[in-house]
């Protein structure tokens, strides 16, 4: 390897050993928590804007009574 490749390799090893000592095991645990894709909306756009008004009996009574 060239000298700069050797320096890079040494730097990579340094980082690896730093993280191993500092929390490599811990970070592996975090990897197990998340599935590959975590992008779910709780409410879709259609759900947000759908019509919710409905003429139930209660509403019809209200209209009827309002005419008195």
């Amino acid at each position: 390897m060239t000298e700069s490749d050797q320096k890079i390799a040494k730097a990579v090893v340094d980082r690896r050993s730093f993280f191993r000592a500092g929390g490599g095991v811990a970070m592996a645990a975090a990897a197990a928590v998340l599935p590959t894709q975590e992008a779910e909306a709780t409410e879709s756009q259609a759900e947000r804007t759908k019509a919710r008004y409905s003429e139930t009996d209660h509403v019809k009574t209200f209209y009827r009574v309002n005419r008195y």
């Binding site: 980082r15 993280f19 975090a30």
Partner: protein, 196 residues
């Protein structure tokens, strides 16, 4: 990407840690996510201990209570107790120069928003998501680019933010999230200072 364009396994793990922080700070966790977080393992390192505390908190947490806690801490009526934005922490105002700098760098990375959210990009969850993407190779960014992004947009304020959150009386579940966040950000800051 590091040596030979191969993603180092450590970087994949770093990405997972960032992704975990992003998903917890971006929205209140579902019951399913809480049960998965409750399975977090740890070891005797600072980060491992923080994980164990978070797992414990997740085990005793209830979805609705955590949802209310998230609302009170970060959304609120008017504003939450905390504004997890780089601009706020660095200037005292929202939508400031720090946000402009983040947008600049996201443009340069070719990263753009996917979805209807209008959240300013200097939100801690978005910054963590970007770091995760860079670490795991979804965005083209070698270690130097990752270090620059971290030093420019996260290092000046994120550890302080997490430390503040950790001390907040109103935070119970998120106290543990903050401990993981602070510990990991401090670890990253030190790691990026290693000679490259």
């Amino acid at each position: 990407m590091p040596l030979d364009g191969i993603i180092d396994e450590i970087d994949v793990l770093r990405g997972s840690e960032y992704a975990l922080l992003a998903v917890l700070m971006g929205a209140a966790p579902s019951a399913d996510l809480l049960s998965r977080v409750a399975g977090l393992r740890g070891d005797a390192t600072a980060l491992g201990m923080a994980h164990l505390e978070l797992a414990d908190a997740a085990r005793s947490a209830e979805e609705n209570a955590v949802s209310r806690e998230y609302f009170n801490l970060f959304i609120g009526v008017g504003r939450g107790e905390f504004l997890p934005y780089g601009s706020w922490y660095q200037t005292g105002f929202l939508h400031e120069r720090p946000l402009a700098r983040v947008r600049e760098d996201l443009d340069a990375l070719g990263v753009e928003r996917d979805g209807p959210s209008k959240e300013p990009e200097d939100h801690i969850a978005i910054l963590c998501e970007v770091m995760a993407g860079m670490a795991q190779g979804q965005f083209e960014a070698d270690l130097d680019a990752q270090a620059r992004f971290f030093e420019r947009h996260i290092e000046p304020w994120a550890a302080r933010f997490f430390a503040d959150l950790e001390l907040c009386a109103a935070a119970t579940f998120y106290k543990s999230v903050a401990r993981v966040g602070r510990t990991f950000i401090e670890l990253e800051a030190e790691a990026f200072k290693l000679p490259r």
